[in-house]
Amino acid sequence: MQFPDSLFPSCFGAGPPREVWGPAPASGWGERGQVLEAGPDRRQVRARGVGPGNRGVGRAGPALTSYLLSLQCGTAFVPRRGRTGESWEPAEAAAVPVLPPNAGCWIPMLAPRDILCRGILRKKLRAGKFRAALDFTKQLSHFFVDHPDDAFGSLGQLLHKNFFLGDSKLKVSVSRDTTIRMTALMEEIERLEARRGCTQEHLVPRLRWFSHICRDWLFEVPLGVLGDYVHEELLLQCADLFFNDSPMGGALAWLPPEDTGARTGRLVYPGGRAMNHLYFQDVVLEELPRAWGSPAQFELNGRIRQVAAARVDGEDFVGVRSDYHCGVWSVPGRIRAAPAPLQVIRTSVPASCLTVSPHLPGELAVCTQSGAVYLWSVETGLQRLRHDPQTMFFRDHSPWRWSDFTAHPRVLSCADRTGLQCLDARAPERCHFDLFKVGEEADCQQGERVMLPMYLGRAHPSHHLVATQFSVYVMDERLPLVPMLKWVHMMKAPPFFAHLMPGESGRSHKVLLGASSTQELLLLQYQGERLQDWVCRSACQLVGPPQKLHSITDCLQHLPTQLPHCHHLLQQRLGAPAAGLAATLQKDRSQESLLVFQLSEAGDVFCQRLTHKIAQPTAPTSVDEAEPSASPQPSLAVLSPGAALRYRRWLKALFNVCGEPPRHCWLPILSQKRLFIRKELQSPAGPSALQGQVRQHLRQVMREKGRIQRWDTPDALTPTLTQHPELAEGVDTLSTRLTAAWSGDWVQWWEERTSYNMAQRRRALRERRRQQKRARSRCSLSASFTSSVTYQSELSELSDAAPLPLSPSHPPVLPGEGSPLRSSPPASPAPDEALLSSQNLRSRGIPKERRKTLRDYLAVWAEGPPEPPEPPGSQASQLCIPSSQSQLSQSQLSSASQPRRKRPRMGF
């Protein structure tokens, strides 16, 4: 192996990094780095694009003649960065799905708002001194509600006979001695729930007394211990939210075909709802790659974090890492040969790395978070090379470890966040050297940490890539500690995935870097010429500008317009963090293309194609200005028909899988529990004759499959409705609001709707009552509605339907489609107009003076502007759509209550 004759000049310091500049936005641009004298035939090499860059300078033989040779050509220099690279252009406007969407509805990952105190988060973030504040009490209470069996299981079973939760009085004298009535306590708790968010939250003595007595024995796990566990778990989850390095390395692998001409390769990726199924899918590389046949599938018992693959002796070895298990599969090179599982190991501490040896069949390197590094051979088992919970060069809290192979099959590189060391597996204690150190040696910054090392063996046997959150380095193990190449990558999130595509016969090597959370994808090219017999004559250079590739989210703008909730679903799905990266070069006659596969955490695999544009052989005026990409790229705005079809199919499949409407779409419901006491709401026992009559009628209509247009006995309806509170469908608030705005009293409408000021409302009520007193000496409840209802009926006269009766309501019967409200009954029935009839109120034992207040109170809500007249053609729908005042009041009441936020759940 030849070493470059001459390396780019660089200073070499020692010690901790001195520079402090953090993520600077443009620091990767505009630098040549250093220059080095180019050999005499360098230009010819570049003009042809291929060929040996064989330099004569400094090789055996008198230096003088070679210098003279070079001088005849004029001394030429090459920069470390900025030489022209190959031009690869995206063939499509966005990444295209390769496989159908991952089965099972994807559960979005935990978001910061789920476990952190919300107000604090925002305030702290703004102040810049962020320390996460965990919403511990909320999580613990969720635990009690969601997992009561785990929380109180055995004592709950023991005590359930002694706790009485019903409403009635305890009658039997025997049970009275041993049973406690808990109803009052429950009510207190419910009231407490209602007052949630209230600043003056007083704990009721009864509750305090209960918790004081029960705290020590009621819980399955002692409360202190449980609290500690929950808190610990929360801290872990919280740390994961900000930086989760478990997907490091990526869970996607491409197994290229055995001979380069073939077009069927194999994609290895995780799938399933918990990402615990391993798939080997044959993929045919065409204009758009497509799956061929059904995949080989293995079910594993853990989420797949990493899939690593390497080819040794024509056979692919695929290593799979989940938290506590690592497995290895072998895939013979023949097309459609079945993959065979070889061995599985179990670790007691989560594994953080699994790499497959490119040198020897069935050898892998495994690291665990306890700081252990193992060489795992399928034949001989595990060999521990190192066990050190401490980091190598300075103290860092991260337990992450990584290991990879080097040019020597018995020497492994071993990394933590502070740097890389190489260990000889034959004598790991004695033989080791430092390959990379976060420090002045590599001109690092303060706070810089190793994110992902990768062995670049396929490009050059002794090169390694080291990515930190700020820069990428190419290291040569023959000259440790000094980077051959350094470039500030300017990515927004640290790179988690890297993929190398070696360039053959003097062409540039391509490295893809991928970030997880931001889905960024960057294509770099570098050159350290690899010629026959591994001759590497020139020092490493970064060539061409870096290039950003499409991310999965980018395709959102190319998809057909969706309904808002579908769009939201799609946004969430496509925006899922990336989980893997793979790529392959494909040669098709004269056209060469680069296919980049991307896996998201939702389990979707997308692909994009880049085509190689060969630069026109223009006569270069100067050494380095033969830039072909001077013309601005035409931005691809439209998808090709093939890609559009792919998207349509994918979307259809996605909505079939995740079609059910999200649960949080429920209409807001107002609980009436706070309005009446329970006794007041108890309906008279036993169905009345009228109710029976109506039921009979209903049944008959249902049997006939007809529709109830109007009740035959309108006066008899009021009690019926109490049975069907759920019939009340939400009235379109938008139209009422628009109507209000049209008639000019929108401000009033808004105030009524939003006002929390009880005093104001009470004042308005009083005012109204006074007016009503003046207008009528005595009014019934139904009469109080007439004013508006008359208006309504006047309007409906426009249509040629029969005049509606002047009763407070004509029963609305909904069309048969199930509304969310109907499909499952609301937690607490809302008050409807039936409640307002004085007869009914009396029967519920509401005293006279309160009855009046109540009516007035509800009348305020009821007093909405009438609906605009319907066009004459839609009488049927007018009859079917509830339009009475009561409906209006219903919707207004319900919208006054706060919509219930969906509770975040922890992953217990």
Partner: protein, 412 residues
């Protein structure tokens, strides 16, 4: 309020920068340039106290855009950079240095030299350690350019000398260049670092003027000073120097021995092995075997025919003489468990035979000696060779069969 104004300004600045970045990463240079003209406003209200101010950002982005998308070539670039030098005053040296690199890459050596001289005389406030380093580099590059003009003069002089014509002014000029170059180059190689081009030029100068002791000292310092990184080239330069000087075998071997310790896979290891094989001392020949085995451990030397033939030669010698078989045993012991899979698999036999017949020949011989005649690699290759009626493969088979007992002794 002014605070809010600042905050908004900061935000729009960041957004603008993001757009520029996005355009550049998609190679839309024109679009990026348009955004950059807006970003220049950031200079007017520079409230930032960040490490990298807007002036440096503009310099970096501007020069990147001009590299890739410029109509007037160097002229436009030069005028842009001149403005940037005054704008990013604290980064003057860095900007100048990068400017020089750009000029050099475009073959404008004289302009680069002028820029370097100008930068050398620049002073502004107290020099930081970074600026100190940059100044050293500027001086070093000027020294390098002086060296090149020295070499040019020398070339003219030699040519004229051949013509029997002497030119005193050229000679004067040449010595002048030598002095300037030597001073600056000597300075930079005192600082720890990788200074391959500078060291090479400096040694060349010294050698020309016959200052071999100084040259030797410089190379020794460069190779063996522990503050310097373990640069294989430093040892190579020293070795080449010693070879040019016609030094004794012993000193050459000791130079290469150190290179072997740090980079066992270096190409010079083949020369080293050849040198050691020729040696009469047993210890050296033993070292030679070690060296060649170690070189072949590396993936990079897997298909190096030269290295394999060196090993074959030495193995044959030992096997035929049947002396020092224990050397082979010792070397083989640490490789027994992985060399067969690494070098001598059936797959490799097939591939080597198809791609490189002579490689497969050498390897088959090694496999036959180390693994016996039943080894897959040997069997496949010798079979194929005999089938193809190649004479040396028949010889190979014969040789291995004859010396099979040796294999038994090695493996035993």
């Amino acid at each position: 309020s002014s605070h809010e104004h600042k905050l908004n300004f900061q935000k729009s600045k960041e957004a603008c920068l993001n757009y520029i970045q996005d355009a550049m990463l998609q190679k839309q240079w024109k679009r990026a340039a348009e955004f950059l003209t807006f970003y220049i406003e950031a200079l007017e209200k520079d409230f930032s106290r960040e490490y990298m101010g807007p002036s440096e950002i503009i310099w970096r982005i501007g020069s990147e855009i001009l590299w890739h998308h410029s109509h007037n070539g160097m002229k436009e670039f030069n005028s842009f950079i001149e403005q940037m030098k005054t704008l990013a005053i604290t980064r003057y040296l860095k900007v100048s240095l990068e400017h020089v690199f750009h000029l050099l890459c475009n073959g404008l050596i004289d302009e680069a030299y002028q820029t370097l001289s100008l930068a050398e005389s620049w002073r502004h406030g107290e020099q930081t350690s970074v600026q100190d380093k940059e100044m050293k580099l500027i001086e070093a590059y000027r020294g390098l350019l002086d060296y090149y003009s020295w070499a040019k003069q020398k070339h003219i002089l030699l040519k004229h000398g051949q013509d029997g014509f002497e030119d005193l002014s050229v000679e004067q000029e040449m010595h002048n260049c030598f002095r300037k170059a030597a001073v600056n180059l000597k300075e930079i190689i005192k600082i720890p670092g990788v200074w391959d081009p500078f060291v090479k030029c400096y040694v060349d100068l010294l050698e020309f003027y016959g200052d071999h002791d100084e040259a030797r000292q410089v190379l020794n310092e460069y190779a063996y000073n522990s503050k310097f990184p373990a640069n294989p080239n430093a040892h190579v330069y020293l070795y080449q120097f010693l070879k040019r000087q016609g030094e004794s075998k012993k000193s050459l071997i000791s130079a290469l021995k150190i290179l072997h310790d740090s980079v066992p896979s270096h190409e010079l290891m083949i020369d080293f092995n050849i040198m050691l094989q020729k040696s009469k001392k047993r210890k050296k020949r033993r070292l030679g075997l070690e060296v060649i085995f170690a070189a072949l451990d590396y993936a990079g030397c897997k298909e190096n025919v030269k290295a394999w033939s060196c090993l074959v030669k030495q193995l044959k010698q030992i096997v035929i003489s049947e002396k020092h078989l224990d050397w082979i045993t010792q070397e083989w012991n640490s490789r027994r468990d992985w060399w067969p899979a690494f070098h001598f698999s059936h797959y490799l036999a097939k591939r080597n035979w198809q791609e490189n017949e002579s490689l497969s020949y050498e390897k088959a011989l090694v496999a036959g000696i180390l693994l016996g005649k039943d080894c897959k690699y040997f069997k496949y290759v010798s079979h194929q060779g005999c089938k193809a009626q190649v004479k040396r493969f028949r010889m190979l088979k014969k040789f291995v069969n004859k010396h099979n007992p040796v294999y038994l002794r090695i493996s035993g």
